[in-house]
């Protein structure tokens, strides 16, 4: 039998039972589109989170005071140590050529109030002018903290956009005075909306010079040092330099923990990708179910076309010709389903992309490959049994059965 003949016969069989064909294709299509949509949502979430981190820069190292020798334990995030990590420790890091700039950070919580009597308790960040570039913050109005001696605290501050709105409503905050704790600060500028950020919420924050924060909270020790390296390639060198320089300044004791933003991002990426693949795999179970249905319908088709099969064999069709005929039918069922499913899945993803432009939904290539391969393979595997059954029919019995 010619390949073309077999194809047209299968097409004819599918078309004559169009209702059945449509239903089985629908089953496969549901499975394929589910895999695609779930994978696209997972990938979108992954990209969103990674984008948040990458907007902070990939060549970033975070230095925390304290170091635990517990293997695999969490870093000492709260950063309380007997020996202070000082502003001088931070600036000493600049002596290494791999380190471009550093921002010492002191964190605390304090009420910020206006002359009008409005008050809001927020996180206060004591830092320097370098933070603006390292954290890639943007200003909405006014200017950031000026470059100055980090040991001298000026009475100036920068407010997050939400804090500024709460305290000054629609009035311009720039140039006004606020009270942070019991100290007065002049507002130099407001930060632009940074969206939803991972970690620190820069919308509801007051940023003051690091020395002012040290005085406000009565503590010398830094909470973090943010270190930007010259390039991504310098991360390892910079990390070693940080340990070396700190040890030389802390009587030979290397008591800091260095976290590379890069490694955090990579771990996160791995975790999120695993979850996405897991979810897609669970939804791919439905493709196996669709395979069972294809088998079932092909079996029905074989049973209904016994006479036809008998006739074909009487006319000299070989076993493999008959087998091919029904395999093609099963594969076409799976194929139509896969094509419909891919179309629905891809258009659903595009629809989401249009409706929620801020969510970076994307159909990963592997999910298209996974869904269509599993669908086709299921069609072939589950179509094989009915096709074999048809091929082995005794032509005499098949013809006489009607």
């Amino acid at each position: 039998m010619h390949g073309r003949d077999a194809l047209s016969m299968a097409c004819g069989a599918l078309a004559s039972n169009w209702r059945r064909t449509a239903l089985i294709s629908l089953a496969t299509a549901i499975g394929v589109s589910a895999v695609l949509i779930l994978a696209a949502l997972g990938e979108g979430a992954n990209r969103y989170v990674l984008g948040q981190f990458e907007s902070l820069g990939t060549n970033l190292l975070i230095v925390l005071p304290g170091r635990s020798e517990t293997v695999g334990g969490p870093p000492p995030l709260l950063g309380e140590t007997p020996r202070d990590l000082t502003i001088d420790d931070a600036y000493a890091l600049l002596s290494d050529s791999s380190i471009k700039r550093v921002a010492p950070v002191i964190v605390g919580s304090a009420p910020v109030s206006t002359a009008a009597g409005l008050e809001r308790e927020v996180n206060v960040y004591g830092t320097t002018d370098a933070l603006l570039g390292i954290q890639r913050l943007a200003m909405e109005k006014g200017t950031f903290l000026p470059r100055s001696d980090p040991h001298r605290g000026a009475s100036v501050c920068v407010l997050g956009i939400e804090l500024a709105r709460e305290l000054f409503a629609d009035d311009a905050a720039v140039g006004k005075w606020v009270r942070v704790g019991n100290t007065r600060f002049r507002v130099l500028g407001t930060l632009a909306n940074s969206g939803v950020t991972v970690g620190v919420d820069f919308n509801d924050i007051a940023i003051i010079p690091v020395a002012s924060a040290a005085a406000l909270f009565n503590r010398e020790s830094l909470f973090r040092i943010l270190v930007e390296t010259v390039s991504d390639a310098d991360l390892d060198r910079a990390e070693q330099a940080i340990h070396r320089i700190t040890a030389s300044r802390h009587e030979g004791e290397d008591d800091v923990t260095v976290i590379a933003q890069d490694s955090v991002v990579k771990t996160l990426d791995r975790v999120l990708t695993t979850i996405t693949i897991g979810v897609a795999a669970i939804s791919a179970i439905s493709l196996a179910v669709a395979g069972v249905l294809i088998m079932n319908v092909t079996l029905v088709s074989v049973a209904q076309r016994r006479t036809e099969i008998g006739l074909l064999k009487a006319l000299g069709a070989r076993i493999r010709d008959v087998r091919r005929l029904f395999l093609i039918e099963a594969l076409m069922l799976a194929g139509i389903g896969a094509i419909v499913g891919l179309t629905v899945g891809l258009s659903a993803a595009s629809a989401v992309a249009i409706i929620y432009p801020e969510f970076p939904i994307a159909v990963p290539a592997w999910s298209i490959a996974l869904a269509s391969t599993v669908a086709i393979v299921c069609g072939a595997v589950f179509g094989l049994m009915p096709a074999n059954r048809a091929a082995r029919l005794d032509p005499i019995k098949a013809l006489s059965s009607n």
């Binding site: 549901i30 309380e80 964190v107 605390g108 249905l293």
Partner: protein
Amino acid sequence: MRAQDLTQLTFNAIASHRLRSLLTVLGIAVGIAAVVLMTALGEGVRQFVMGEFTQFGTNIIAITPGKTSTFGVSGATVSSVRPLTTDDAVALLRVNSVEAVVPVVQGNARVEFGRKHRRTTVIGVGSDMPAVWQMGVEKGSFLPNDPFESSRSYAVLGSRMRSELFGDAGPISARIRIGGDRFRVIGVMESKGQMLGFDLDDTVFIPAGKATELFDREGVMEIDVIYSDQESADTVAEALKKVLLVRHGQEDFTIKTQEQMLSVLDSVLQLLTLGVAAIGGISLVVGAVGITTIMTIAVTERTAEIGLLCAIGAPRSQIGVLFLVESAMLGACGGVMGVGVAIALVFMLQWFVPTFPVALVWVYVAGACGMASVIGILAGLTPALKAAKMNPVDALRAN
């Protein structure tokens, strides 16, 4: 038609196409098994996480400095212009039905004994810590009930810390240095193991007052309050809030009851279970399409039978019911089979990998069975209607 006849007819219809029925049932069974397994997995994770959180007891209230509504570390935990102090902790002890109060200061320091040293977590706590965190003392005793401002320099080691620093030697009454200050070891804690990745065994416990000195802090990071079972968490939280408001003049602290935290966590995890169940449910939808397909085929094949039934006076509704019962039966069989397979798999998992968190939720299991029948009926609806609407004359002539 009598119910008995109806059952007989349906049964014959299903049994006469054994392989076809089996495959249809299999489709539903896979879907049901996927849903039951996914919920079992979700429930297992939920129980595991809740267990991790409730190991510190359930009648705990945690007070942290700073007024925040969000999760995560507030800047106030690090430093605040209005800190929570050990004096606050003492004042809270006077609140009715409060049984114990533990201020917590956590930091990282180098612990030395002789020539051995180890950098680790140092936690400043009160003498009631073992009761509040439900940790037992293995050797010696826990920190004595000294006033916070003049507590003696005693230290209690976590079990891992003890073996790292002392090996087989007895640690009791040994002198160690923590961050340069001298402490005397008076006890060793029982192993508590990991708590969400945080190793409580690799720690040293010292009096909270000493910890604030060591880390040069003004306040504590958290005050844990344990209250009597007889009181409700909200009543106690309200009373604690009143006392702190009087002392601070304003609400610059956050009170979180264990109940609140657990209920939030619980609802999140239940939602997650529902989510994975829904993903498994996609297979169920595909299985349902399978029932519709097979029933459509059955209606076409049995056109003559339908015509005959009509001709001998069966009302249309009865013909519809006939096919509906058949599809419901297919669905129900799939449900029973799927649940059976899922339960077997769950028990196997529990037997071979006991640490793997799976737990059957019987509500979901029963729900899955019921859902399978409902799906069967829904999937059979269109074919059944088609059968019911057939013209008996045409139907009889079809063959």
